[in-house]
């Protein structure tokens, strides 16, 4: 049994994959709490797809994919803000337009490359087993930046998310906080690129946080539970990938989804079973 658990990680690439997957699981899940509470899931998904042209340019010209993705994510984040600012175009419409345009641009660029299919698959669905030592350093560095900012600005993020009016009266600008959140979202998506890929990062932002929201009642607890769910999903997904020889990113997301389904059914007070039992009790009391 012990060997079954430790065997995979005697290999250097599996060690790096484990560290990268755990970092991504935790960072996505913690920031994801705000994504869920502020209904930013669509924005997160759009940002993730929109970094494709940046990745393609970096790939074609041979500089860091992560750097290309980061620049593209920041450009798109501010583009969405710019288009929707005037008030003539609603924000979700602006997101829809920019997201599809950037994704298409990225695919057009990548389709000029010979090994098109493999490269696109890695970008869309991740390739955690291919994380190099240098990638890992960058991932760890950005993960620390995102987590430290979330902790440092806890009070500001909380008040802007809960009551933007109070935030403004208290001298905390909701616009500035939102911009910081967008940058953190962009950084998080970038470090998730190699683990779960562009196509699945939204799931890692939303699913563990939604699971935690069913099990907790205060934001700090929600973040902690979400981080644990995210990390466990990464671990389970990686084992599944190693032993069943399936795609790692998708396995991680499915593990997170399994946690969500369990919470959705079994959560105390809020789960299906609980509510069903209460409904039965109420109706039997009525009829009896």
């Amino acid at each position: 049994m012990i060997h079954w658990l430790t065997d995979p990680f005697t290999l250097a690439f599996m060690q790096r994959a484990l560290v990268a997957a755990l970092l991504v699981g935790v960072v996505c899940s913690v920031l994801g709490c705000y994504v869920v509470l502020r209904s930013m899931a669509f924005l997160g998904d759009a940002l993730a797809h929109a970094i494709l042209p940046g990745v393609a340019i970096a790939y074609i010209f041979g500089f860091s994919l992560l750097l290309g993705a980061l620049i593209a994510a920041l450009v798109v984040a501010f583009g969405i803000g710019l288009v929707s600012r005037g008030g003539n175009i609603r924000e979700d419409t602006a997101i829809g337009i920019l997201f599809a345009a950037a994704l298409s641009l990225g695919i057009v660029m990548i389709s000029t490359i010979q090994t098109y299919a493999t490269d696109l698959t890695h970008i869309l669905f991740g390739d955690v087993l291919g994380v190099g030592p240098h990638d890992l350093e960058l991932t760890a560095g950005l993960a620390v930046v995102v987590l430290a900012t979330v902790l440092l600005l806890y009070k500001e993020f909380l008040v802007v998310s809960f009551d933007p009016l109070l935030a403004r009266i208290s001298g905390v600008s909701p616009g500035l906080v939102r911009a910081v959140m967008l940058v953190l979202l962009a950084l998080t998506i970038v470090i998730s690129l190699q683990t779960v890929g562009v196509g699945l990062v939204a799931a890692m932002l939303v699913t563990p946080a939604a699971t935690a929201s069913l099990l907790t009642k205060r934001l700090p607890a929600m973040m902690a539970v979400s981080a644990v769910v995210g990390a466990l999903s990464s671990l389970i997904g990686l084992f599944a990938s190693y032993y069943l020889n399936v795609a790692s990113g998708a396995a991680i997301v499915l593990a997170a989804t399994a946690f969500f389904v369990l919470a959705f059914i079994l959560a105390p007070r809020r789960g299906l079973l609980w509510r069903g039992a209460r409904g039965l009790l109420a109706s039997s009391a009525q009829h009896g």
Partner: protein, 261 residues
């Protein structure tokens, strides 16, 4: 006995001159001019959509003025504003406890990056206790009754130690006990000299419990002592066909906006 009150400084007066505010493309406030003395308590009365919330947001500096100006009374303005929004503006399922919400009232004096200190936590708890909510401090907001939620927001306003308090429809859709404790808080704030504006549909309450009434329907229809402002003629002008005159009493045929989301 109620526990010791949070220290609340005396109020601040202010003046609006020809204030025009647009909201959603309409003129929500049309050349509003009025002067509120420090320590005054004003009931703001008018039909739904008359611009009561817009007035509060303009005073709070949350909406830009199209023209006109708002001046604070006295020297360097030290406005410490507390604003209790209408129920619809709050996400009641947000994962915070009653105490968390009240502690947010202290953020204004902390500034960026500084975390609440022991004194802030004490002030938050004292405010909750003042509204008999001490035992429920750790209860999630979502699990409180509507009345308890309102007490939490009143406690948060007290924790802000304001010199100007804006209460948007605090008497709409609440039970008698919440109404009573809200009025008790208003009495205490009056004693402390805090300036308070309260928007309400309740004309009787406005005339019985407030020294001044502002009758508003986009523009100022009347402002002064209740006896002079709440005349049949002016109320009819503000409320239009919704004002019914039954014997000597005025009845407003307009029930309150929905209170539960």
């Amino acid at each position: 006995m109620k526990p010791q009150m949070t220290r609340v400084a005396s109020g601040i007066g202010f003046q609006l001159r020809d204030v025009v505010v647009n909201y959603d493309g309409h003129v929500a406030l049309d050349r509003v001019t009025l002067k509120v003395e420090a320590g005054g308590q004003v009931a703001v009365v008018g039909p739904n959509g008359a611009g009561k919330s817009t007035l509060f947001k303009a005073i709070a500096g949350l909406l830009p003025l199209r023209s006109g100006r708002i001046d604070l009374e006295g020297g360097p303005p030290q406005l410490r504003l507390a604003y209790v929004p209408q129920r619809e503006e709050i996400d009641w399922r947000f994962p915070v406890s009653a105490f968390d919400v009240v502690l947010m009232g202290r953020y204004g004096r902390l500034g960026w990056l500084r975390h609440p200190q022991a004194a802030d936590k004490q002030a938050a708890l004292a405010s909750l206790e003042r509204l008999s909510m001490g035992p429920l401090a750790d209860r999630p907001l979502a699990e409180l009754s509507g009345g308890q939620q309102q007490r939490v927001f009143l406690a948060r306003a007290l924790a802000q130690e304001p010199n100007l308090l804006l209460l948007d429809e605090p008497f709409t859709g609440v039970d008698v006990s919440v109404r009573t404790s809200t009025l008790e808080v208003l009495d205490a704030l009056r004693a402390e000299g805090v300036t308070v504006l309260v928007s309400t549909h309740d004309l009787n309450l406005a005339s019985e419990r407030f020294q001044q009434v502002l009758l508003l329907n986009h523009r100022v229809i009347g402002f002064g002592v209740p006896g002079e402002v709440l005349t049949a003629e002016r109320v009819a002008e503000a409320f239009g066909v919704h004002a019914l005159f039954v014997g000597g009493a005025i009845v407003i045929d307009q029930c309150c906006p929905p209170t539960e989301p």
